[in-house]
Symmetry: C2
Subunit: 537 residues, 2 copies
Amino acid sequence: MDGLMQPRPLTIAHLLERAERLFAHKEVVTAGGERLTYADVAVGTRRLAAALDALGVPAGARVATFASNHRRHLELYLAVPVTKRVLHPINIRLSAEHLEYIVEHAEDDVVFVDRALLPRIWPSAERLPKVRHWVVLPDDSSEPIPADPRVLHYDDLVAAATPFAGSFEETFTLADENLASGLCYTSGTTGPPKGVLYSHRSTVLHCLGTLAAGLIGLCESDVVLPIVPMFHANAWGLPYGAMTAGASLVLPGPSADPDHLLRLIAAERVTVAGAVPTVWTSMAPRLRAHDLSATRFLLGGGSAVPPALSETYRAAIGVPITHSWGMTEISPVGAIGGTRTRHRDLPEADQVAVRAAQGQPLPLVNVRIVDVETGRELPRDGDAVGELQVAGPWVAGGYYRVGADGSFTEDGWLRTGDLATLDAEGYLRLVDRIKDLIKSGGEWISSVELESALTSHPDVVEAAVIARPDPRWMERPVAYVVLREGSGITGDELLAHLTPLVAKWWLPDEIVFVPALPKTGTGKISKTLLRDSVLPG
Amino acid sequence: MDGLMQPRPLTIAHLLERAERLFAHKEVVTAGGERLTYADVAVGTRRLAAALDALGVPAGARVATFASNHRRHLELYLAVPVTKRVLHPINIRLSAEHLEYIVEHAEDDVVFVDRALLPRIWPSAERLPKVRHWVVLPDDSSEPIPADPRVLHYDDLVAAATPFAGSFEETFTLADENLASGLCYTSGTTGPPKGVLYSHRSTVLHCLGTLAAGLIGLCESDVVLPIVPMFHANAWGLPYGAMTAGASLVLPGPSADPDHLLRLIAAERVTVAGAVPTVWTSMAPRLRAHDLSATRFLLGGGSAVPPALSETYRAAIGVPITHSWGMTEISPVGAIGGTRTRHRDLPEADQVAVRAAQGQPLPLVNVRIVDVETGRELPRDGDAVGELQVAGPWVAGGYYRVGADGSFTEDGWLRTGDLATLDAEGYLRLVDRIKDLIKSGGEWISSVELESALTSHPDVVEAAVIARPDPRWMERPVAYVVLREGSGITGDELLAHLTPLVAKWWLPDEIVFVPALPKTGTGKISKTLLRDSVLPG
């Protein structure tokens, strides 16, 4: 016997129309001076929706973006899915090879590209004949715009359109909540990039997850700054979350300069910001030079937040960096770190340890750990280490145009490739990537824990530990370390710092000081690139 | 093209298993001394689930409760729907006629009843032959338990059962999210009571709505007290919301004594409580005698919260009563009142006016106002008055076992029967029930506004204004007023109090002082009963 509730679908159209009806006056600010409101963005979205029709972009077609975080990108985030097309934000830092691969694979019909980014993508255009239009998003760059009939101008396009006047929401039926709304490719550290195809349903449910109080808890009084790029796993859902909650939205534009970001946080009284740890690291030395008193919640994700980094923020501005654990395959947020009620009275050091965990899953998300070899579920006792697997309505069940894939279990859970523990309160602690774990003399060494211990030294900016083949022990850890400018610390001094923090046999065989560590397109330290560059092929 | 996310259903089983895995240690306290945890409740639920199987209760069957708010009732809230049966909480204050009507209409298979409430329902048992079992929930009463083979004892039943050991969640498929999970009957002020059949999907989505930050925003650090009965529109979703958020839950048991409730709030450091205005009114004179400093959010719903009542709380304890607008048909919460960011700097009187509104709709809920005669949608300008209609995935689309019903529009929206305005921020302000509006000389008078003006006088405890037929004006308002004990105010003095507050022709023709006003089963003032008792039949 089914219930008798209204068959209303979960759609991004609802989120847009909610912002339009309830929060028309709230601000959408793009760094550089454009101050608009959700009413303005809604009008822009309604024009863009009509323009996509005029361009003859079919329903279900992929519409790509190659752009930084700004208002026009937000209009694309809305107009594309609410007209039942599929938004495909492309990572602007991809190699030409990967870039061309995913545009081909996605069969993008149109690509919207920042004028400043034309040099990174236009040279590929001749090898991408299926792209019918390249639409240039204006910015303050003066890159030459190719004289090519396929090239159009965003502002001309929307100016010529008559805004769609009805309710997008009313165009959806219940079945449509499963329509694809977005497509993001994973960074592809092994093999070609793989696409995750989000639905309206998954996007709306994830959005409600970002609103849940006491976790991220986006709300009307927030001013939300997604530093994380809009091409990186939907900017963690912050744009959709902010507009649903009625929070103001601040978009940082193309610059990742730490002072630019800090000035923006101060000037706009930002309350919630999200960024990868490397960006938080870049801002850390300058915190006290800005008034960051409005901040209430800083999210770090994409890779583990070193506890020392989080504590630097807590000491300087009273707000730690909270783990937002996720993956592109999880829309992306799966769990939120931080302390809960029962940790309040713990000694500070214990609270630091709690904050170092990846946290508890959001409502609707299930996690479990399984024995890597047997596939059997392991106890949630805080000790057992197993592969982390995830299930939930905003977790991928397959990859776009990929057949059967070892990334999913027989019962439909996502294998994350991470080793983790789970405790009796559902706290998730990542131990390592399965492939980054170092096997020395039959025992496992966690590269992540070693890196945390290294970055807890004030002179260490970044560290990566990888395995070096060893005739006797099979593998031994080697640390690659970036020191802060002017530091004169030696490898032996750093080993002495590690000694009380880890088991003696975990101590790296060598500490190599390097000027920088290789990064992936999303700004994470890439151990794959590091291995390729330092280990004998 | 559909997305490729996992087909995970939204089910109450997830909420239970979430509380079990993440919040096993958080407390579930029942007034009177029973201090348990979610782990205990989960064990009880797993036993009860097995006991329902042992009783042979079929899938989809209705399982009724006739009980106050306590831990065993919570176990029923969980065990019944997670085993795909339908929970039917019955209002304990119904007349025997209505009670028998709905048990018959619902075809309840089993009824779980508080021992103390046996005298109210057992006399009906012989007229309810389809009820196979009556299960007695122990309490501190010593009502005689009927010696009848149909009568069972809750604690014996669960003690004999082997707890279900698997994952309830895994027993559901995507299609099952639409399964009926609960059934509540409206209070039936006109005609027989009508049943609203909730689904797992609607219940989970509503639950996420109660978690949205800045609105009710249930979170892990909360201690939640549903004073509103669990038989009244699912206790506004507070039990499911609390356990999903990981908040502690405090259940008040059978007593609605104001001092009992205030002592409970103080002793348990309650942060969030929900009750109908008449209960808040009963507690108002005693606020300063208790330490209520932990409270952060007090919900009032079921009928309009008089602004003066809300301000009494704000003055005494710093927390106003916030409107939680809803209906049984809306699961029940549709909108949440209170001020938002832009009201912060308004003069206090203006903020009071904002708090007097029913508020903004929750995410996923749509509201509109339409012309009562033409059905055309009216502008959201804060002035136009029309019938309030509601749509959303937790809003009823029909009544249980009722054919076509004038309560729904052709496009599937619920007609609320309320007159309201909507403003440019989506703030909903109820003007009156359509049927309570008074038509005098061709103009409308709002009974609700007159009642607010009356209760703004410190000597007025409650007021109800109804229409009296009038040969000249068609209808004229008459006020029925309950004064606080010892007040010597006269009708003329009260009219003088009203004069600056309302239009002159709105002033009631008569003010009648009465010792009490008739109430519905859910504690709302019943104008239907009042009309029946005072107006010539």
